[in-house]
Amino acid sequence: MKMRKPKRRLFSLTLRQQNTLAGYLFSLPFILGFLFVFLYPTILSAVFSFNELVITKTGYELKYVGLENYRHVFRVHPTFIRDLTETTINMLSQAFWILVFSFFAAIILNQNFRGRLIARAILFLPIVMASGIILKIEARDYMTGILEYGMESVSAFLVTPALSVYLSKFQLPDALITNILAAIESLPNIIRSSGIQILVLLAGLQAIPRSLYEASEVEGATGWENFWLITLPMVSPLILTNIVYTIVDYFTSTSNLIVSNIRAAAFGTLGYGIGSAMSWVYFGVIGGILVITFVIFSRLVFYHE
């Protein structure tokens, strides 16, 4: 017996095709934006990086210079490579401490205690405040500088030496000790840039089904075992999210050394071409770091279900 084909309606689209069409229609704003506001300028910037750009009355003209702009970035520019290395190293150390701190803070904020709401409200305050113009102004402000310096020097004079003596007793590698001390000195900065990360982890902790803990309690597991066998695996995808977010946030922050380098080049005497070349080198580094972290950490991540 032959199967009869079902009748088709609506311009004879199958259900599957209708689904695809609707999906693309809903996504249309982003498709347009991605193509014209993101991809097109990005390709143009790649083109610029091989050219010299001259502004004329009716627009701009390009003069092909080959790899000259890149050669300038690597060989001629006095500080770019050094700044790039410095930014990358700072990013790695700060990202590590932000992850540790946000994890710790999220676990504390997830516990039941009096004043929890106030503590949460205060810890998330930097999300509201520390962005845009405030960061820009604080970076160059005189009073903030003095007060922060006062605060840092308290830690530098009192906490740091005592701690370094204490830490040296454990015969840890010197590099690690330096890193820990640097982290303590930049603690205010780390705390203020962890708002979103804490929020994401807190949401994750609250989404862990109670039943898992109840079951483990029946089995007689300790809190320590619960942490390693339930909490950590269940939030591990969010730790990956946080790693990526932290890296991106640090690299795209406008107070970043390289970002100001690029801006100075593009709008200064060096020109758009060199500015574009710089931002491509920079993007290459970011992309590389993201790919490496993703490859390493996605193996460690546990997906429930």
């Binding site: 689904n19 934006g33 097109y40 803070a105 405040m129 102004i137």
Partner: protein, 309 residues
Amino acid sequence: MGVMEHRLHWKRSLFRYGWSLARAVILIGVCYIVIFPVLSKLASSFMSRSDLWDTTVVWIPRHPTLRNYELAWNYMNYPTAFWNSVKLAVLVSALQLASSTLVGYGIARFHFKGAKVLFTLAIITLVVPPELFIIPLYLNFRYFDFLGLLPVQLNFINTVWPAVITAATCTGPRNGLFIYIMRQYFKGMPRDLEEAASVDGAGAFRTFSKIMLPAAVPAMVTVFLFAFVWQWNDYYMTQMFYSSATTLPMMLDKLPNSVLGMRWEASLPETSLLNNTGSLLLIAPLVILYVFLQRFFVESVQRTGITGQ
């Protein structure tokens, strides 16, 4: 036996109290660090010039004055700038909300080949530093002819159009995050909802507007609040495409210069007083908003399923 049990109990409650105490100390310390910049701004905003040179003044000014507020209020043109900021932030965040809700829904609930690709692309836009494309984008807005389709070149610089276009097409700063939040939220909604609607004969758009949208309000509030706050504080994009705008961040940036004229660079302490006062005036509306909405803000994020996947 009894003694053992008693000792164990005692040990446990000691541990619990010890932990509560440690937690309180840690939290107070951390909260202090977070609030510290606000407190220092608040303190210095009431200082007069002589307090700056007085070494005994750390927090409480000896000659408190409202002069800083007066100057900042007048030179920032506060009421006008405030209103302009409100208009721009509401416009931009409403557009960002609308576009990222549509896109998030599209890639979460329809099974088509491009959905995964589009989601990945949205994440990529989040990862790419804006410096990479901001200059060509500027040139595109400066000589806007829609890829050569328009007969004349329009100049969109110093108009609201760049902000509108980027917001409506999900390409504003951190817009990928909003798509991500909405997509995760819609992904977590039960399938039955749509099936019931389609059995009742509702089309894709009716299902979206009548059933899915009302259920997505918590995630939408989150997106709107994030978008609003970031636009309210935004300096980078505004200065790039709309430098003539008189929003609060733009006025704040110019404040020392407009009060002190050319000598602002020579009088750093005074600049600092003005900056601190101006910053407070900028964030005051946000903090008030936050105090009223913070519960909603925090809880809505928890319910949005940023957690999924």
